[in-house]
Every structure is written in structure tokens, then in C-alpha cells.
């Protein structure tokens, strides 16, 4: 997992930050999550260090609100299996009409293990050989190839559902999702997530090809989304242009390398180590851990509630700030940081020069509410 080179000063500090725990492996989902709130130093730092945010959050008493229903997981697996069964017969049929895949293009190779050995290094080597044409078996579909992408200090291993190689020699990333495409429309949020994940694979694949001296341009930015059509489990193929997502991703990866700037203000002794006992139960005092967390500033917004494992902890921390009420509220309150300030101004407290404009409005608003509701401000 750790990078091939000996860890530099930054890596060393990130390792200390993480403590004894093994770094959580990035996957396409966590990498794409980096773009969810790029303005948050706390998140950026912990992700770069591979800290298990879930565990931290649970230990300080704010477990992440995300769980996955086994029905959803089961549905996902069942659908992927169905698409891939019998040499991905259904998929071939779709690609033939969708990408006018040539009838000779049926080669199907399984990269889930190498001769029964699931080691990621082996699988990655094998994937590289196959994708860079170092073996000559006719291949069209690559089932769960194992790619690598450098994220922050270390390599993340990535497993796309499928990669299709067209006769014209260009690669198309295929993402199999189990959310439905109904009358040509799908949940825009889920498609967006799928798109950025595909972008992660495209990036990793381009790097792989480039390293092998090939032309990364051979990896198409037109990825293919396979999802159930309407209410049945018949798959449908839709192509998704991920150029924008690639742009976003590249920016994030660059930011990850600039992580030093974020480390700079933190005390050198800072660590999120859980001090686990033999069977992994954390022994580190909660307060201490919470205090350590507080040393890295977070930029909480309600949007975090759906994207970040630490959201509840950060929300509690942000209580009393206008941002906790939503970005638009904070904006309407003229960027004032705390609700108490806003209310004080509404009550007529003398504003600072910077607050002068908003103060007028708040006072006015308070008067109107008072007139119309007989409300008096706390």
C-alpha cells in the first residue's frame, strides 16, 4: 500500500497523524469524495493521511450516519452478476448496438484473481500486461482489472467493474450501477457519482498506459454506464462524457500533493492514533482524541451530512455558527459568522464598520417581524 519511495517528511508526518492504524485504502468512491468539500482542511488532511474517519467519529461519540442496506448491496451484486454471466452475453449485445462493437470482439478475461491468488500486486501486474498488450490473447472485456492511482503520498488500488477495448483500439471504462434508468432519465446525483468514479478509472488507466509508453489518449473520456432499464433488470447502456469530472479530479490530486501547506500549522506531535488494544478496541481517551481533532480546522456545511463520516462531530462543533444553518443563510446574513452576532445586530447593537450594511438590514428585518408578529428578539 505504501508508496514505493521511502517516505519523505510529509509522508512521515502523515504516518504519525494516522498512528498505528493501517492507512484506509482509497477507492474510486473515496477519491471522488475528495471533491465533495475541497475547502475543508480537516477532511483533506485526514484523507491524505489515510485516517479511518469512520473509526475516529465513532470513538469520539459521533458515529457516521451512513449504513448500507444489504438489499441495496444484494441488488447491486445480483445485477452486476447478471450483466456478466455467460461471458457477459447481455453486455456484448448492448455494446454491439451501442459502440457498434465488432462481432469478432468477444474476448473476455477475468482479473478477479490470478490463478486463484487474489493478491492485489499480482492482479495489478497481470492487468498491466494485458492492458499494454504484452500478452497476445484476444481481449475485449476486462473483468475487474486492478489499476493503481497515486493519491497524496501513496498508491490506491482501483477496481473498475469492466473495461472494454474497442476494435479501434480505444479503451472505454464501463461502470455497472443498479440504480434504474427510467424513460432515459436517472437520479442525477447518482449519475454524477458514477461519472466521477469512472473519471478516476480513466485517470488511472491513462497513467498506466502512459507509464508503459503508450498514448493515454487511447483511453476515451466517453465512459459507459450500464444500469437497469425502467423497472426491469434488463440492462441499458448510456455513454457519459466525463471530461469535466476529469478536470475536477486532476485538480484534487494536485491539491493532495500540496498537503504540506495544510500540515504546516499543525503541531508536530498531532496524531489521531486510537491506541487500539490487541483485539482492536480503541483505548485512547475520547476527550484527548476530540481535542486532537479540534486542532485541525473544519469547514462544516450541511452538505457534509451526506458526504463525510465526520459530519456529526463537525456539526456539533459548528453549533451557533451561521454556516451550520446553510450556505444561503450565511450569505443572507452578510457573511456574519455567529448567529448570536446577527441577533445582537438585529437588536440594534452598534455594528463594526464591516457589519454596517448588514446591520441596517437586520435591524429593519427585526422591526418588521416585531411589527407583524409582536416578536421580540432574544
Amino acid at each position: 500500500m505504501n508508496s514505493d519511495q521511502p517516505p519523505g517528511p510529509v509522508e512521515a508526518r502523515l504516518d504519525r497523524l494516522r498512528g498505528r492504524a493501517l492507512p484506509v485504502n482509497h477507492n474510486a468512491r473515496t477519491i471522488s469524495a475528495l471533491a465533495a468539500n475541497p475547502g475543508c482542511p480537516r477532511r483533506a488532511l485526514m484523507d491524505a493521511a489515510g485516517v479511518d474517519k469512520q473509526k475516529i467519529a465513532a470513538h469520539i461519540g459521533y458515529p457516521a450516519p451512513f449504513g448500507q442496506s444489504r438489499f441495496a448491496i444484494g441488488r447491486g451484486n445480483a445485477f452486476e452478476a447478471r450483466v456478466k454471466e455467460n461471458g457477459a452475453a447481455q453486455l456484448l449485445a448492448l455494446l454491439r448496438e451501442h459502440l457498434d462493437l465488432d462481432v469478432t470482439e468477444v474476448g473476455y478475461t477475468d482479473f478477479n484473481d490470478v490463478a486463484g491468488n487474489p493478491s492485489r500486486e499480482l492482479r495489478h501486474v497481470r492487468t498491466r500486461q494485458a492492458l499494454t498488450g504484452q500478452d497476445f490473447a484476444p481481449r475485449t472485456l476486462f473483468d475487474h482489472p486492478l489499476l493503481r492511482l497515486r493519491v497524496g503520498g501513496r498508491h490506491a488500488y482501483l477496481e473498475p467493474d469492466l473495461i472494454a477495448l474497442r476494435l479501434d483500439g480505444s479503451f472505454h471504462v464501463i461502470e455497472i450501477k443498479s440504480f434504474p434508468v427510467i424513460d432515459g432519465q436517472a437520479d442525477a446525483g447518482k449519475v454524477a457519482a458514477a461519472a466521477i468514479q469512472s473519471a478516476v478509472y480513466v485517470r488511472a488507466l491513462r497513467d498506466l498506459i502512459a507509464e508503459a509508453g503508450g498514448d493515454p489518449g487511447r483511453v476515451s473520456h466517453e465512459t459507459i454506464l450500464i444500469a437497469p432499464r425502467d423497472f426491469a433488470s434488463q440492462p441499458v447502456a448510456v455513454s457519459v462524457d466525463v471530461r469535466k469530472q476529469l478536470g475536477v479530479l486532476d485538480r484534487q490530486l494536485v491539491r493532495m500533493t500540496k498537503i504540506a501547506d495544510l500540515l504546516e500549522p499543525c503541531p508536530a506531535t498531532l496524531t489521531f492514533d486510537l491506541d487500539p488494544d490487541r483485539d482492536g478496541t480503541p483505548r485512547r481517551p475520547r476527550e484527548e482524541l476530540a481535542a486532537a481533532l479540534a486542532l485541525v480546522p473544519a469547514s462544516y456545511a450541511p452538505e457534509c451530512l451526506t458526504t463525510c463520516e465526520l459530519c456529526f462531530a463537525c456539526r456539533a462543533e459548528a453549533a451557533g455558527s451561521t454556516g451550520a444553518l446553510g450556505k444561503s443563510v450565511r450569505e443572507d446574513l452578510g457573511g456574519i459568522e455567529y448567529t448570536a452576532q446577527a441577533l445582537a445586530l438585529a437588536r440594534g447593537q452598534l455594528p463594526s464598520a464591516e457589519q454596517a450594511e448588514i446591520a441596517v438590514l437586520l435591524l429593519r428585518a427585526a422591526q418588521l417581524r416585531e411589527q407583524l408578529l409582536g416578536e421580540v428578539f432574544p
Partner: protein, 284 residues
Amino acid sequence: MAETIEALERRIDELRVAVREAVLSGDPALAKTRRAELKRAEQAWEDALAVATVSAVPAPAETVSGQAVPEASPVAGPGEPGSLLPLREQVYEALSLLQVPAAPKLIATVHEAFFGSTFPTTRVTSLKRDEERSFRTAPFARPYYICAALSADYLSPSRGLLAVSTWPMERRVIGSLSPRVDFLTAAIRVADAIERIPTPPVTARRLLQRFAASIPGASGGARDQVKPDVVRQAADAELSVHADADSRMRREAADRARRQLANAEQLFGAKLQPVSDEAGPNAG
């Protein structure tokens, strides 16, 4: 002294809540222990009921651990005709009809379509282990074994595919084109089988439809009445495209297998030193 049914029911409800709380608080270990407790309570409840109600409860067809994803087990309506044959025989019937290596799901579907009974795919996977064990204890004692298909490159067992030991090695090795070739061959076999039956059952016709849907020109327009001969022609047509390349690859791999592998490995696949239990049963 066993608790009353009501008491048990209350316990079960409480434990369910307890488990969920453990999960939500991000404490998998605690959740695990409480789950076990819950299972015990539920069992106790079942037993208590069994005592209470005189009706003798036949053992369930299979017990799936609480961890298993329900979707994995088949959704069979009550009163489905079960076959009297042992599982390996049923699998054999299906594979003999298909004449190509196949995945448990396809095997089960084929058997349901043409032999009127189905079985949980989960059991088919364990079947392979039993077969290997019995072969290693008494080689060639049985007329045939349900064995693995071998991946052409490493001659290791190819994930999730079953074959029959009496087939020629050429048929049991899987090159990169083989999945497609075998799919087309299977389609043809199914088409033949349907033609042999005077009034093919709905399940059989639906199976043929499923095949036809993924073969160019096989559906011949109307998706509801696919014609066996149309499917056969279409499959043959595409088969002719891949056949040579595929059989070349398979012959080469088969020779290698016969040269390099011991009997057991020829049937159940060569193993690298397994690095994790995921690598399948230990070759010893």
C-alpha cells in the same frame, strides 16, 4: 426452565434494537455478540413454538447464516416439485444437455427448464468441493465427477464454472474466447433440446428467449415466439467467426494441461500456493 413465548418475543425485540444500536454506534464487535444472542433467542422461540404447536416442523431445506445476503438464495414459491435425484445427478443431467462448462446459475435454470426441478445455486458450489474430496480419497471410483473448468493461461480452476470429468480436456479449458463460444454452443444445445420436446414448457422457451436476446439475429423480430432453428442458425453464424481461434487456443492449453498436471489437478485445477482462504480449498 425455558422462558415463556411472550417473554422470548419481548427479548427478541429488545435484542433487535440492541443490535441496531451497536451497529449505529460503530461497534461491530458488540453487534456480533448481540446478533449471536438474538439468534439463540429466536431459536429458543422457534423451539418453544414447536413444543406449543403440535405440528411437526420439517427441517428447512437449508439454513443460511444471518450474514448471508438473502438474494443469494433462490426465491422458490411453496409446493415446487423437488427432484428425487441427488444433486450431483441433477447437475450432471443439465451439464450433459449443455455439453459445455457452465455456471451454477445456468445449470440450475437448465435443469428447471428441462427436468422440472431446481436447486439452490449455493449448494452447487459446495458440490464441487465434495467431488474433489471424494476423487482424492478414491480416484476414478465413480463413473464421472462434477469438476472444474480450467483457465487456459494458468490451468487454475476458472471461477464459478463446472464441467464433467469425462469431457475431453479441450472442452474443459477456458480461453478468452471460450466464454462466448460456450455460450453460443449452449444456445444451440438448448434449441435442439426444445425441438425434441413436443410441447416445451414455458420455462424452457423463456430460457431460449434469454439466449436469443444476446445473439444477433436470433430473436427474429418477435421476442415472444423465438424459433429454435432461427436461434441455431444465428448462433452457428457467430460461432463460425470465433470457432477456429478458440479451438486453437484450447488445444494448446489442453496439451499443456495433459503434460503438466497430475490427475487430480487435471480435474480440479492447478493451484499456486494459496495466499489466502479466498484462493479456494487447500490443495494439501
